[in-house]
Symmetry: C2
Subunit: 374 residues, 2 copies
C-alpha cells in the first residue's frame, strides 16, 4: 500500500470514523481503523460490531493494499499536522507516515483480522435531504428512552407509508412524532427501530453535511449512505443493526379532541417554566393553572423549605379551567423542539396526556403525561 492524500481529507475521514472506536480489550482490533485503497480513493472504516462506518476520501494510489492501525493514535497524530500532502506507505506491517518534516511509524495489524462490515444492497427506501433528516431526528430523539431495560423504546421508530417517513420516540412518559414528506412513493410500506446510539452517530455525521441520504434496509440492518453536495467532502456509509422488537402502538394514545385548549407564545411560556424550575421539588414538579376567564396561565413552583414563585402569562384559552402538574424538564424539552412563535397546548383534565404542537403545523407533535396530584 502506498498513497498520497491531503492531511485535511485524512483528518476528516478519521474524525468521522474514529468516534465509535472505544477501548475494546476482548477484541483489540476494534480499536483500529481499517485503511483500504480503492481506485482514486482511500477507504477508512471502523466498527463496534453494532455500528459500522465507512468513509471515502480522495487519494492518489501508487500501490494498492490495506492495513489496520490504532484509531486514536493515528487520528491524534494526523489532527495535529498542518494541511499538506501526507504520504502513507506500508512496510512490514508498519504504516510509515510522512508530511514535510514530520514522520511516524505506526505498528499495524493485518486487515484480514478486521471484522467484515456487512454490505447492504438493494433498492433504496427513500432519498432525503441531510438537513431535513437531521432536523427531524433532533425533534424526536430526546424523547426516546435512554435506559436499556426496554430495548424496543431504546431507539427511534421509523415508519414508511407511501410518501411519508414517520419518526417517533418515547420513554413512556412522553412521545414525539415527526412526519417528513418525500417525493418518491415507496412501494413497500415498512417499519423498523434504529438503536439510539446509531441515531446519535448519524446525527453527528449529518451535522457537518449538506447533501442527500439514501436509506437501504434489510431484515436486520440498515444503511445510511450520505453524499455531500460538496464533492471535496468525504462520502460516508453508516450501517447499523436494527432493534428486534415491537414499538408500542402509540396511535391509540394520541388525543383527538381536548377539553381545554391553550394558544400561547412559545418563548414566554419557556421562560416562565425555566424560572419556575428553580423552585421545583425533587420530582421537578411545576404547576400550570389555566384560567379561561382571565385568559391567563399561572406557572407556579413551591418548595416547602426554600420558598415559592409564580409567573403569569397571557394566552388564548377555550374550554374548562384546569390545574395540572408536569415535570418541567419534559415541558422544556417539548417547547425547545417546537419551531414556531405560537404554540397549541391541548389538555383533557389533570390526569390525561396533553399534546403540544406549533399552532399552524401538524407535521410534528409532542405528547406528555402530567404528574398525578400528590
Amino acid at each position: 500500500m502506498k498513497l498520497v492524500c491531503l492531511q485535511k481529507n485524512l483528518q476528516k475521514g478519521l474524525n468521522i470514523t474514529e468516534r465509535i472506536v472505544g477501548k475494546n480489550t476482548t477484541l483489540p482490533i476494534l480499536n483500529n481503523v481499517l485503511l483500504e485503497t480503492q481506485k482514486g480513493l482511500l477507504s477508512i472504516s471502523s466498527t463496534n460490531l453494532e455500528i459500522g462506518i465507512n468513509c471515502l476520501i480522495s487519494a492518489k494510489i501508487e500501490k494498492a493494499g490495506s492495513i489496520t492501525v490504532p484509531a486514536k493514535l493515528f487520528s491524534g497524530f494526523v489532527n495535529n499536522l498542518p494541511n499538506d500532502k501526507i504520504f502513507l506507505e506500508l512496510k512490514n506491517n508498519n504504516l510509515n507516515v510522512k508530511l514535510l518534516n514530520y514522520k511516524a511509524i505506526i505498528s499495524g495489524e493485518s486487515a484480514k483480522n478486521f471484522p467484515i462490515i456487512p454490505k447492504i444492497t438493494g433498492e433504496e427506501l427513500f432519498i432525503v435531504n441531510t438537513v431535513i433528516l437531521k432536523n427531524g431526528l433532533n425533534q424526536v430523539i430526546y424523547a426516546a428512552s435512554f435506559t436499556e431495560n426496554r430495548p424496543e423504546i431504546n431507539g427511534i421508530f421509523i415508519n414508511i407509508i407511501k410518501d411519508k417517513i414517520i419518526m417517533a420516540a418515547t420513554d413512556s412518559f412522553r412521545l414525539a412524532e415527526k412526519t417528513i414528506n418525500f417525493n418518491k412513493k415507496s412501494e413497500n410500506n415498512t417499519s423498523f427501530i434504529i438503536p439510539i446510539r446509531s441515531a446519535q452517530e448519524l446525527l453527528r455525521i449529518l451535522g457537518e453535511k449538506s447533501g442527500e441520504v439514501k436509506l437501504v434496509v434489510n431484515k436486520n440492518q440498515i444503511l445510511f449512505s450520505i453524499k455531500d453536495n460538496n464533492t471535496d467532502e468525504p462520502s460516508v456509509d453508516l450501517v447499523s443493526r436494527l432493534i428486534d422488537g415491537n414499538f408500542p402502538d402509540y396511535k391509540q394514545l394520541i388525543p383527538k379532541d381536548f377539553k381545554t385548549k391553550l394558544i400561547i407564545n412559545k418563548n414566554e411560556l419557556l421562560n416562565s417554566v425555566k424560572i419556575s424550575s428553580v423552585f421545583s421539588g425533587k420530582i421537578n414538579d411545576v404547576k400550570f393553572s389555566v384560567s379561561g376567564a382571565k385568559n391567563e396561565i399561572d406557572v407556579v413552583a413551591k418548595d416547602f423549605s426554600a420558598g415559592e414563585n409564580s409567573s403569569k402569562i397571557k394566552g388564548e384559552i377555550t374550554g374548562d379551567d384546569l390545574e395540572i402538574t408536569f415535570n418541567y424538564k419534559y415541558i422544556i424539552d417539548g417547547l425547545n423542539s417546537l419551531s414556531g412563535e405560537n404554540i397549541f397546548w391541548g389538555f383533557n383534565g389533570p390526569t390525561q396526556p396533553s399534546l403540544l404542537r406549533v399552532l399552524d403545523n401538524r407535521d410534528y407533535f409532542y405528547i406528555v403525561m402530567p404528574i398525578r396530584n400528590q
Copy 2:
C-alpha cells in the same frame, strides 16, 4: 429591608459571589449569600470560611436591613429573569422578589447567624492594573502544586521588593516566576503565599474587570479590592487566608549559565511537541536531540507497541550537543505561557534543570526538570 435595583446588576453581583458557595451540610448558612443595604448600595457577600467575597451594586434603598438567602436558588431565579427593575422586600424573614409578572418568596435566615468576613484595613501594599495582575497570575498559577500534601507549594508565592511584585509557583518538577513593576515604592519588603483556590477565584473575577486592584495584607489574611473603570460594574472585595509556611528558597536553583543554548520559534516547537506527544509513553516522555552542527532539534517519541514519530525544527544552537527527555505536558505548559515569537531555552546537560523564557524579555521565566534517562 426594601429596595429596587436592576436585574442585570443583581445578576452580576450574585454570579461573582455565589461561585464559592458550596453544599455545606455542617454549617448550612454558608450555602446562603448575605444581602445588606448600604447608602445607595446593596452589599452581597459569601464565604466558605477560607475565602470571603463582597460585592457592591447600585440600588435605591427604601428601607435599610439585611437577610441571608440560599445562593444557588436566588441566583438561579434572578439569572433567568429579563433585565428590568427588580423589587426586593423583607417580610417575616422571607425575601419577596418581584419583577414585571414574575414573583417569588424566598425563605431567608437571619443575617446575625452569618459568619463575619474579616475587615482588613491598613495602607495598601500596591495598586496594580487588573489586566496586568491577571496575565501575571496566569503565567505562574499552572506551575503550582494542586495536591494538598505540601501546603507551602499549594499556592502562589508573592514577594514585594521595593517597586517589584515577584510571583512564583512550583510543584517541585517545574517553577514559574513573573516580575511586575509598579510605580509606588513599597516601604516594607514582604512576602506571603496565597492559596491556589483563592488565586483561581481572583482570576475568575479579574477576567471580567478592567480597572485597578488594591492589595492590603495583615499577618494571616489578604484583601484584593477591585474597582472597575466602568462605574456601572460592581466593585468587589476578595478576602483570603494566607498559607502558613515557607515557600522553597528557589533562587539558588535558577541556572546562571548554560552549556547548551537554543533560540527557536515558539509555535514550531509547540507544534512538534504536541504531535510527538501522541506517541509518548505512560510517563509522557518526549526526547529532544539538540545538534549544534545541524542547527536542528529533533523531537522524538516512541511507544514500544504503537510505533514512533519524530519532527525536525531549525534553531540557533550554541554549546554542547544534547539528548534530553521531558514530560511533554510540562513543556507545553511552559511554551503556552511565553508570549513571544522566539524563545530561549537553556540546558546544563541531560539531568539538570533547563530554563525557558522569551528571547528578549527577562520578566518571566520557567524552569523545568528533565526526566532522567531510563
